[in-house]
Subunit: 557 residues, 2 copies
């Protein structure tokens, strides 16, 4: 990371922007806007852990820069209802419940359902595209954008210091299922008026061309379902209302009924249909418990687990650990992306299902998924219609941010006006010029079981060593006054070798090393521990060619 | 796995085939053929560990079925020089060095270099396409096949019981760089003569269509290198002679010299050029130490590390942990596949290089890789030209084997003549009919540091728990006769919580539980350990909502 540098005190007439998450990573999107002492937060998401975060449940943005200023927050705008934009809201509201949440109908309904599990009832302000709201010193205008969840909004933030436009996640499907396109007319109007800072989704900036329309998936689903001889299971993201809509329509067209499987699928689709985002054809839904009385060729199960998550419905089906046991003639469609890092888990599920006799249709062998993010070609349209004065690419790994900045420059925005930031980069906007004025030192906040922010990177390093190499503990009880060994050394190992007899050789060596140390007058517990650690560490490295964690436990009695 | 069933004693006039590895997995390919008491082994490879094999270096086939019969082995045919086909040879030869290795010139040269590191000098028989060899009761004929390494061979195995054909890994590039195509004329001739059992590469059986020609990569490399303003680094597999050839040619065409980086790249390319498989244009190679004296636009580095392996050259470059430090204007080409499971590691490398200012060209944004395996369209050609009586798909996960069997059936081979096997499936061939007659119970043999086969699945389970959750150990010293606590309980944890004071609450509870047990006359160490385990285990589950490994250590003094 760039070396931390404290930003100067915020000058009057200046808009300060600090991304707390989402830069250099895909997830935990969160940006803080400050003007005249008041703070506006846009999004508050989680990051899902990778293999170098063993055991961690979720990763939150570091709230440190706003922790002492909770009373200054005038609102949290949530651009859409995906976890990487709303998942950290419960943890923010646990600091104070007074912050109003601002978002579209569907977005707030999904957040409220999540908050209910944390027993939090939030203050909310429901907005829709075209709406203006004055929140503290910030004049907000909400603009429709198209994404892989309905009712997503971009937000224009006007202050006397200038206008920022944050896209949230978006793409530019020109024929979306709900007819609600990304509102380029408003982008054009804002561009005419002058946008000083454009915070723009970078997720697919390194993908050439254009994201195909969601509508192209319908005929593929239709064809697969038409030909399926027995049961059909479709797995997808539980918030992808339009994907589910196309499954419902295809099932309906072929006289099949649909049962939702998986807690989040049931919950989200209930919300989406209650609010009118999901149009359920008359009589198509059926409770999954009743579905098994239907003939096999009359049912489609719509389930979670498309990323191979071990506890989700699809993995459990593949392991015959679910009431629905797939078999020959059944068809399983993974209508989803394959998020990097999940490949092996997903392939294990595909393999398990294939082994049970099911036919598995997935991204690798059929066009059953399109992305939710604007590819390079779409982003060029945006830059050309908006012509922003300054650009801050957000939402993406470094390579995505770089690719996005390059696109901006290709449309004529000077390179000194495209800012590659990190989490904690402090950007001040004044007189139409955005400049980096500081860099905060932000960390990762791990949710681990019931603990939030207690597990540190040192603990994760310990876990990685333990997970790769196991540990060896050596217990010795010594007489406090003489240093004489009363009991032990006992050597216990886990994850190291099949049986502890491999350590028989080392016990006399430890005893001898301790006797020598005691003879030299060493009494201190820590020093004796070091003697044990050195003796066994050297032996293990040589004999086993491994470096397990060595845990010497010298007890005085 | 299918329940183990012992096969019947092998009848005279029957050919028995047992795959020991490579079925249900991509790697550790090894098949044993038995006729009249003699054994022929085809390939002997390793499997690379995935994330559920933490700390493991390599996975070997289970040699158990041949361990007591080493003297019966008449030879090991190695179809080509990739690790998943030759990597376990040193471990087999450690059991006995008397087994001759049979393979092409390049294959044996690569195996010999590997064996040298293990200080083993093998008996070898070099063969080439068209050659026949009688090895024990097996009449072998070697047939040229095209793959992502030169000099690959299929082997026809003739016995009085019938003829088997094992493809090894192959594809059917019709315009390969070296002009050495998969010899379909010989396939046709064998087909006329009658092939009873076809063991066929399944790796790409679920990929529709045809693998593009290796030759299509040359112009892309040429164009990228032509436009590169400064240094170029190309990373690829260190055995991919033709890929390296195209890099040499492109570099040469643009007046650049090439330096090899990485131990395996240097070693393999020295072998390949010594044997004439790599044609090095006059004066193009340069030692990497001298390369840095060249102008930046006159050099191409050809390196290892295309899979994001942390210790390989490319990862070290990305971490500025290598003498060559990439910077703005440099171009890095990852001319390689992205093996599932390596995505995050590779993306971290791409990100690191991008951050340093390098332009990264990879499979995701340019056509710089083609597969080494026949896709579905090519396999159909094979089946149609060969028309085998029985098919045993090999080399692949279950879904690949299934897809391959389906292709065989599409060409008219009856489904009862396509065998979906597992490692250890015993197939007997007699009178033109192949049947499954048993299933051996085979395991995974882990190479872990200096140990081979000592680490068990239980150890790996321990490592996974330790890696996800950490451990808590509780040490108590008790008086052997009274059960009274003399010292402790001391609670130590690693990978669990930031500081051990979180356990202050539990110490008095453990003391009380032990006192109660002692009062009830419990003296047994194991029983007292269980008291400790239960007390702290319950507390941790409730208080931290985690399940770390609990290690109670009750010591008598």
């Amino acid at each position: 990371m760039t070396n931390p540098t404290n930003p100067p005190a915020l000058q009057p007439g200046t808009l300060r922007v600090i991304p707390l998450g989402g830069l250099g990573e895909v997830g935990r999107n969160m940006t803080v806007f400050e003007y005249e002492g008041k703070l506006l937060v846009v999004d508050c998401g989680v990051l899902f852990p990778e293999e170098h975060h063993p055991g961690v449940d979720l990763i939150l943005p570091d709230f440190e820069p706003i922790r002492g200023r909770l009373d200054d927050i005038v609102g949290v705008v949530l651009t859409h209802g995906h976890e990487d934009h709303i998942g950290a809201v419960p943890y923010l509201l646990k600091l104070t419940r007074d912050i109003p949440l601002i978002g579209s109908g569907l977005t707030l309904a999904l957040v409220e359902a999540k908050l209910k599990e944390h027993r939090i009832k939030p203050y909310t302000l429901t907005v829709r595209e075209g709406q203006h709201e004055k929140v503290g010193p910030f004049d907000l205008e909400f603009i429709a954008v198209n994404h892989s969840i309905p009712d997503a909004l971009a937000v224009a933030i006007r202050t006397p210091a200038g206008t920022a436009l944050a896209t949230g996640d978006f793409k530019m499907d020109q024929l979306p299922l709900d007819g609600r396109i990304t509102d380029l007319r408003s982008f054009a109007r804002l561009g005419e008026e002058g946008v000083d800072l454009f915070l723009v989704d970078s997720t697919n900036a390194d993908v050439p061309g254009f994201t195909p329309t969601e509508r192209s998936i319908g005929p593929v689903l239709d064809q697969v379902i038409a030909k399926a001889p027995r049961r059909v299971v479709v797995a997808s993201f539980s918030s992808h209302v339009h994907r589910v809509q196309q499954v419902l329509d295809a099932a309906h067209a072929h006289g099949r009924r649909v049962a939702f499987l998986g807690r989040s699928m049931v919950r989200n689709m209930t919300i989406a249909s209650d609010l009118g985002y999901l149009k359920v054809p008359e009589g198509v839904l059926i409770d999954y418990k009743k579905a098994k009385d239907l003939p096999d060729d009359r049912i489609v199960y719509m389930s979670t687990g498309s990323q191979g998550e071990p506890m989700a419905v699809l993995s459990r089906m593949a392991n015959l650990d679910h009431a629905i046991e797939p078999g020959p003639g059944d068809t399983v469609i993974l209508a989803s992306s394959l998020i990097p890092g999940n490949e092996n888990a997903v392939y294990r599920v595909i393999d398990g299902l294939t082994k049970l006799g099911a036919t598995v249709v997935h991204k690798g062998n059929a066009k059953v998924h399109v992305s939710g993010h604007a590819a390079a070609g779409e982003l060029l349209y945006c830059y050309n219609i908006l012509r922003p004065r300054n650009v801050l690419p957000v939402h993406g790994e470094y390579r995505h941010l770089m690719a996005n900045a390059k696109l901006a420059q290709d449309t004529g925005i000077p390179s000194e006006r495209t800012i590659i930031g990190e989490n904690g980069t402090v950007v001040d906007l004044r007189d139409g010029v955005a400049s980096v004025v500081g860099q905060l030192d932000l960390g990762f906040v791990y949710v681990d079981g019931s603990s939030v922010g207690e597990i540190t990177d040192a603990d994760l390093k310990d876990r990685r060593i333990l997970g790769e190499e196991g540990f060896i503990s050596v217990i010795v009880v010594v007489d406090a006054s003489t240093g004489r060994v009363i009991s032990g050394p006992e050597v216990h190992a886990r994850g190291v070798a099949e049986d502890d007899s491999v350590f028989d050789d080392i016990v006399p060596k430890i005893t001898a090393a301790l006797a020598e140390a005691a003879g030299n007058g060493v009494r201190d517990n820590h020093a004796l521990s070091q003697v044990v650690r050195r003796t066994i560490g050297r032996w293990v490295a040589q004999k086993l060619r491994r470096r397990p964690m060595i845990v010497p436990l010298v007890i005085e009695a």
